[in-house]
Symmetry: C2
Subunit: 221 residues, 2 copies
């Protein structure tokens, strides 16, 4: 469902550019559950952001669902992401002025879902995350792990084809993290959702059908 | 070095207050290395913020180095923290407009350390964290785990008596996380620094001389 060809991303900063991703080619089959591992700074978030059409490569291609992403305008990519991709950011990026439940309904509102339907779905997702009682808290009234779970719920809101999650259990104790791993495995198995998780959580990685790892921007053999 | 007596913290939000910490008494000996564990939302960050004199309790006392913290003004607490406590926040709170090296020199500047001495110390800390090459990156030009390591370096800048670290390896792969655990254990053993870590990382927790855990704001027996 997502392919890359000779993908590269270089950041120009000061005298020495940072080659965050170098000449990376991969092909993620529909319905797969992949874990991406690698040291801090090895390029995992940079890769995931390009797979999720959030960042554009410096060179090479990303092909999403058979279409070359570089041919699309920014507004087309925004639409593609809204309807197809559920992204969990490493730093959550919840909207501080919105309550937890509103952070979750926002993408549904943008997708044209009606008010009462999106409220029901948001409450159902909060319940799934064990956060029903925190629906009206703002992000700064939530613990780190609660914010992370709201970010996960938001990613699931529009029933995406693909979930791309960047360290989704980084702030969670093993019990809560285990439940998230179980949930993603269930969505993958029962709904055929393609899941790609950047993780250093062994319980999560062990759920994957394939584990790949990065070293200095390259895919390990 | 830090004691609490019947410590409680309640957040008033909506109709039902959140009793984040309830009637908690503990006594952390000088030179200890404690790990605080517990489920997401159990009160760990709330507790650590009160131990670090960042938040004031709703009731009960915090006694830091023999002194009742409630008797101190906000500016006295700011000074106490600057000179005695190295705090690693769960969400880092790096200053986005400052480069990595400047984030680390800032607390030294506030403590009156001279320019060349604090630059040397910051470079030494960056080297310790494997981030020498990232000295001039701003936080948004760093990976999640690199930001976390800059936050750790900043906490160590003024050679604190006490290090309070909230999930310091949450964003780190096990290799890098292991090095941080090793570093904290070394500072504890060789320099007698008291270390209290909120963590769900087993490698880190196993370094502790004592492991305590929270459930719903209370200390487990
Ligand atoms: N400002 C606030 N207003 C209302 N409730 C709050 C506020 N801050 C935290 N809480 C609630 O207090 C409880 C404890 O929060 P705390 O951040 O201490 O948890 P934690 O153990 O650190 O969790 P995590 O492991 O997820 O970081 C949580 O259930 C949270 O929703
Ligand atoms: N905007 C930027 N400008 C310059 N360098 C950057 C920028 N963003 C990231 N980098 C660098 O690119 C490298 C890869 O970053 P990336 O965020 O992909 O790593 P990562 O594998 O996700 O790491 P972590 O496990 O710590 O989250 C890092 O060394 C980082 O310093
Ligand atoms: Mg990352
Ligand atoms: Mg916390």
């Amino acid at each position: 469902i997502i392919e890359t060809e000779n993908l590269s991303k270089t950041y120009k900063i000061g005298p020495n550019p940072v080659h965050a991703i170098r000449d990376l080619s991969l092909s993620i089959p529909r319905g797969a559950f992949w874990a991406i591992e690698g040291s801090s700074g090895s390029g995992k978030s940079t890769l995931l952001n390009m797979l999720g059409c959030i960042d554009r490569p410096s060179s090479g291609k990303v092909i999403f669902d058979g279409e070359d992403v570089s041919k699309k305008s920014d507004s087309m990519l925004t639409r593609l992401r809204l309807m197809n991709i559920g992204f969990v950011f490493q730093q959550f990026y919840l909207i501080p002025t919105l309550k937890a439940i509103e952070n979750i309904t926002l993408p549904m509102k943008e997708a044209g879902i009606g008010r009462s339907k999106r409220r029901d779905r948001a409450l159902e997702l909060l319940e799934m995350m064990g956060l029903r009682k925190r629906a009206n808290h703002h992000p700064n009234q939530l613990s780190g792990g609660e914010q992370q779970r709201v970010a996960i719920a938001r990613a699931l809101a529009n029933n995406p084809k693909v979930i791309l999650a960047d360290e989704p259990t980084g702030e969670l104790d093993s019990g809560t993290g285990g439940k998230i791993a179980e949930l993603l495995a269930m969505l993958n198995k029962e709904k055929g959702i393609t899941v790609v998780v950047v993780t250093h959580d062994r319980a999560m990685a062990s759920r994957a059908s394939r584990r790949i790892s990065l070293t200095d921007g390259r895919l390990d053999a």
